[in-house]
Symmetry: C2
Subunit: 396 residues, 2 copies
């Protein structure tokens, strides 16, 4: 007889997951995948990281392989703080920074410290599906605000902050996932001013802020409202995701609670990779590396945009990212994203339907396309396959 | 003006943390620490791990540094499953196993999938403080069951399971932290039979089951109630804690929900360390390594027991562990554990008071002593310092 399990109520809130399917799809070698969210493997400096690992294990092996503190390896936090000071002018210190297992863990822990069941969480619409998955288990009420190419709709944003009083508003102002949108300076100011009149915490996820094609940093919203914001970052897109090293930066009372939650969650992030990464960064010019990566992504994005314009039906429009790894294409009314996904798999090209990015329904008129993982040649071939899909589905 | 933050209600449930203090204390080079929970650094095979890291980064670097799947690196899960089959006779497959960031993460995620606010959680008393910290944030009602040297008090155990109907009962049947107690065969049977008549899930934390001084495995309680249990394990005590690699083993419906929670929490555990560990294990005789470690710990434990008997007042009694890393000493009524802690720091010896191990008060008559991290010489010197503390506090 099968045992009947009493799972916690929160588990019923878990959205149907796409991430697992996606990772699986991105491992089928015959499928050209625009569906995943992987940085290009060819841009990972495995040799440099191998040398750093060798040095750490030779000179500091016992320390690297032993338990450590919850806040994270201090030289790594110093590096992050200094980079924030130089690059973005933030008054960051190591005390304001905690290391996590990739910035996905910030989503879990920030929700854990701020969100009671039934509390509001504001999000961009479309919004990052990993955030929707993490937040859902805290049983919030989601409030979506439509996201345009310049930022969230100001009136809807103000209405959500004022009327729903969400504990958090979660956003990716730089090269958003999935849309690729980057907030304008005016939009950043609007967001900060609206937040400042509320007691909402602005949760700024900056996974892509280093990857602008013009190499110019954009000023974080957090800088305008330092007491009412947290800012998360990650080495997954700039160095390597497989080490799972991200961080959170925020005001000390918040970081204090975050530390309590992190310690309860897993004591500390893996110490070996923190030390390897720290040594790697000390011996390498990260700016030069990022410049190479973002130049390549700029080229890949440009090819993808051109191929959509040239090969897909005229009813398909798309965003034009200034950086990052993703864009979205909007489909003509007669074609649904889920059909494009299904037919795409048959044609050996994978795209991600927009539906999992919406907390309030919709999204079947959008597909998310990743341009960081495939090469330019793969983008061209994938787009040819996608064109066949659209022809079969009758796009005009 | 300081911003006033609206933290979630669950954060008020966080117990005052000792772990942070402890890690700090264990880094002051002048203090001889029996307070921490570190495996002996001298038993970490840094050279072997360095070679494995070199090989992985040379031959599979791009894969190791890229995103991966939530369940964990399959060859590592196969290794764990095979070891369970051979060593404990469990019908384990990789599908029943998920990799986590050290088994502390299982505490968080198992509570996440099973515990609603107000649900009961049963625990040994004293119980593992890291579990109390993790579970507390799920706002449970704790039910402590007194733990003797042979296992939990049978009547109290039955009463808690029957009357409180906790969703989980959490236990460490092998060389428990803090007490060092190991359940007898009879106690294991009693626990399984009582659980079987309930719908409680038995959460068996087996962090120390490889470290028996007689090298004999003890049969897990989980084997008797496979549908109603989860079993967690860790490489932190056998190979190296700094890689943060542990796992959970359980029935498929539970593992499915666990996977959802793990993905939301941090996508996956660090892939580089999973691959390094897997390669290390493939090329090394883990049994031989563990035999060396547990022989050393047996010697250190024996020295510690002898020194307590010889140097501390006769009113001090202590457990006699069969394995693991900890024992507890019970103090005479006139001496409080918190005073021993405070005076110990002045005398440059650190012990851990019993209070944080109790969900229902008490514990100031106990101290936990770690014998895995210090050498035999350090144990002797530390015990001399501790004897001075007791003399000053007037122990007779």
């Amino acid at each position: 007889m099968e045992h009947s399990y009493r799972f916690a109520d929160r588990m019923r809130r878990a959205p149907e997951s796409f991430l697992g399917t996606l990772f699986a799809v991105s491992r089928d070698p015959e499928i050209l995948s625009f569906a995943g969210g992987l940085p290009g493997s060819r841009f990972i400096d495995t040799e440099g990281i191998a040398r750093a690992a060798e040095e750490v294990l030779e000179h500091e092996g016992q320390e690297a392989l032993q338990y450590s503190t919850t806040d994270g390896y201090r030289p790594l936090r110093e590096y992050i703080a200094e980079r924030y000071r130089k690059r973005l002018g933030l008054p960051a210190t190591p005390e304001n920074i905690q290391i996590v297992n990739g910035s996905q863990q910030c989503l879990d822990l920030v929700a854990k410290i701020f969100v009671n069941p039934g509390d509001g969480i504001g999000m961009e619409s479309p919004g990052y599906l990993g955030a929707i998955e993490a937040f859902s288990l805290y049983e919030p009420v989601f409030h979506g605000v439509p996201l345009g190419e310049e930022g969230p709709d100001p009136e809807r944003f103000a209405a959500v902050i004022r009327d729903a009083r969400p504990g958090l508003f979660y956003a990716i102002p730089n090269s958003q996932n999935p849309s690729g949108a980057t907030y304008s300076t005016e939009s950043r100011r609007m967001v900060a001013e609206t937040i400042e009149e509320s007691d909402t915490i602005f949760y700024e996820d900056d996974a892509f802020g280093e990857l602008f094609f013009d190499h110019r940093p954009r000023p974080p919203v957090s800088a305008l409202i330092p007491e009412q914001s947290v800012l998360s970052g990650s080495f997954s897109k700039t160095v390597a995701p497989g080490m799972r090293i991200g961080w959170i930066y925020g005001p000390e009372p918040v970081i204090g609670q975050f530390n309590v939650a992190k310690q309860a969650a897993d004591l500390h992030s893996n110490h070996l990779c923190q030390m390897v990464l720290s040594r790697y960064l000390a011996g390498h010019d990260l700016d030069a590396h990022i410049r190479r990566v973002s130049d390549a992504y700029a080229g890949q994005c440009s090819v993808m945009c051109d191929e959509i314009d040239d090969l897909l039906p005229p009813g398909v429009s798309h965003t034009r990212p200034q950086g990052g790894m993703f864009l979205v294409a909007r489909l003509p009314p007669e074609i649904s994203a889920s059909r494009v996904f299904e037919e795409g798999i048959r044609e050996k090209v994978a795209v991600l339907p927009g539906t999992p990015f919406f907390v309030d329904g919709g999204g079947d008129d959008l597909i998310r396309l990743n341009f960081s993982s495939p090469t330019e040649e793969e983008i061209k071939e994938g787009m040819r396959r996608l064109a066949r899909v659209f022809r079969r589905l009758g796009g005009s």
